[in-house]
């Protein structure tokens, strides 16, 4: 879905950085010029370019608000992150939301929206450099092909971009859940080749654990915002909601397990497919072998009878090789399952802690 505008995004960046007064009247555009305009100082090739993501408090609030107002249910909301790169840190200073795709808005021009927005923001001195995008997620399910493609095109155009995944349901349970992900260099290589066959993936030695890497996030505020925070605290005096300590967890757990089960089902189907493929290939091998042997025998018989041998036939035409199943999907599913499992473990750890506290309280009561 975002793939469409992602392709234009590449142009946007090069144009934006040039418009910005690098002064060059370059005619050609290449992603390197785009990236160079954003400050390259990063490490070597094997290393990831971004060690830390620093987010302004404002961005966090905006993302929360966007989801709260526009995204309900399983819809994802997306938006663009703006900021700049400082040494090995990615600073995100502002963001703006992206309207959701609706069928009746077929003529809605995403590219234009983005261009307009960035131009306008530049007038008020907001950093107008794209550094990534954000997306909300439903119970942690975000490892999809679409996300991979989008992040790849972003990372291809801008070396340091990240995708911020915001989990509103987890946040509502007590603590902000915001994670920043990038594709590993290995995966970037594979994506560049556009070759997702099993051989390429095996060569790249990619396992589901090495698809995405998480970048630690810190939140930073300016002094004036700190003053604002103090002011708010004095004025608003909203009672602290102790959501985090609530013991009722079965609903959330049930849903997550449901999603996990669906994925595991998909995974097992995938495995079945793979097994069938393996079996078919080996059967085919056997058949080929038998055919060859028969051929040889016939030829020997014919020779002994003095007849011309039968011509060698092209084996590959007789036995068409089977297509190996796509590996990328199963990698994605495995990655997703991994994320679910980690979420579950985190959740259960918290709940166990809470249960033990409740027990202590009860014991004291008795």
């Amino acid at each position: 879905m975002c793939l469409f505008f992602e392709l234009y995004e590449f142009f946007l960046n090069t144009m934006a950085s040039r418009k910005e007064g690098t002064g060059s009247s370059a005619a050609s555009s290449s992603s390197t010029t785009g990236a160079a305009g954003k400050g390259k100082g990063k490490g070597g090739s094997g290393d990831s370019a971004v060690k830390q993501v620093q987010i302004d408090g404002l961005v966090v609030l905006k993302i929360i608000k966007h989801y709260q107002e526009e995204g309900q249910g399983t819809e994802v909301v997306q938006g663009v992150l703006l900021g700049l790169v400082v040494e090995d840190r990615l600073e995100i200073t502002n963001c703006f939301p992206f309207p959701q795709h609706t069928e009746d808005d077929a003529d809605f021009d995403e590219v234009q929206y983005q261009m307009e927005m960035m131009r306008s923001l530049r007038h008020v001195n907001i950093d107008h450099l794209h550094v990534g995008w954000y997306q909300s997620t439903y119970y942690g399910s975000f490892v999809t092909r679409a996300l991979l493609d989008s992040q790849f095109s972003y990372q291809h155009a801008i070396e340091e971009s990240v995708v911020l995944i915001y989990d509103p349901i987890k946040t509502a349970q007590g603590s902000l859940s915001l994670k920043a992900y990038r594709l590993t260099p290995k995966l970037m290589e594979v994506c560049k080749e556009k070759d997702f066959s099993p051989e390429a993936l095996k060569k790249g030695n990619i396992t589901f654990e090495h698809m995405f890497e998480e970048v630690p996030i810190v939140i930073k505020n300016s002094h004036l915002i700190n003053v604002l925070m103090w002011e708010l605290e004095k004025k608003s005096a909203v009672a602290d909601k102790h959501e985090l300590l609530s013991l009722a967890s079965s609903n959330h757990l049930g849903k997550t397990l449901q999603l996990l089960m669906d994925r595991v089902d998909e995974m097992s189907q995938d495995i079945v497919k793979y097994n069938t493929y393996m079996r078919n290939t080996s059967k085919q091998q056997q058949q080929k072998h038998q055919y060859q042997q028969r051929r040889q025998q016939e030829n020997m018989q014919r020779q002994s009878r003095g007849e011309p041998p039968l011509p060698e036939e092209d084996l590959s035409k007789l036995f068409k090789p089977h297509q190996p199943p796509a590996r990328m999907d199963s990698l994605l599913i495995a990655g997703q399952i991994n994320t679910y499992c980690q979420n579950i473990k985190e959740f259960t750890a918290q709940n166990l802690g809470k249960l033990f506290m409740a027990q202590a309280l009860q014991e004291y009561n008795n």
């Binding site: 609030l61 709260q68 526009e70 300016s222 708010l232 079965s250 757990l253 499992c341 750890a349």
Partner: protein, 357 residues
Amino acid sequence: MATPAVPASAPPATPASAPAPAPASASAPAPSPAPAPAPSPAPASSSDPAAAAATTAAPGQTPASAPAPAQTPAQSLSGPALPGPFPGGRVVRLHPVILASIVDSYERRNEGAARVIGTLLGTVDKHSVEVTNCFSVPHNESEDEVAVDMEFAKNMYELHKKVSPNELILGWYATGHDITEHSVLIHEYYSREAPNPIHLTVDTSLQNGRMSIKAYVSTLMGVPGRTMGVMFTPLTVKYTYYDTERIGVDLIMKTCFSPNRVIGLSSDLQQVGGASARIQDALSTVLQYAEDVLSGKVSADNTVGRFLMSLVNQVPKIVPEDFETMLNSNINDLLMVTYLANLTQSQIALNEKLVNL
């Protein structure tokens, strides 16, 4: 209390004022016919500072300057009339994201600009107005003139509408601790965009050591029949939070305590630990109070006593065996789920290895 902003003084609408390219064609070159109460079709222009100004200023006023439709005389307010700023009056409900945006755009203002202004977006209710979004608008301000980029404001509003179609223009904001004459003019413009616009001021210059946040709406004042002036009456400001916003703000607030204003996000048990520490603090305050009362330092208060009573009774009294069973079954559930999760993870890892053979 209300700050009168009658521009009896220098008519700000003087010459050479740049392009307040007010899309209002109302400010077409009609030299203002003095405050004759000629009915004008222009959309609700409530206050009319220019009318007052027109009396003082020379007739040769360049009309194109001020965004004020100089030719519309005083008119009655459109929209619900305000009974007053105090209970019974309208309430303005702010979300924290607005204030953060305002502060951020103030920090990014152009050199030489003393303040920034912008538009407020949100929804209107019967009794209150909820402000949920805002964006800043570039403007130039100097001693005698003010120019606001209206085109920009319109464009931004269109863009924002694409994302949230329910938001309307509610008014505008300005940083700085006072209302100036220019504010009146800008308010004038905004009253064309929205009925009865709200003006929000955020004091970023921290006068009196506080960042005061106030909201105003304009009312007419003066002797009826004569030139009307404009007065900004304050409104009550309340802060609303969505649940998730509350949690976000709590987290962001923690940067106040760290030396370089940076905090990381904490992880599972740390969060539980943090929350229980907070409860512990609250409990110790309560304990302290109870002890003070017992020792006679503080006089006992019945309402507080009742609250305390209900607090203590919140912990449910359950028969120990029942509680044990409940606890154990819950713990078993959680352990089982953890076990399954681990099992699944090792399963997919194995699968990976097998496939790659």
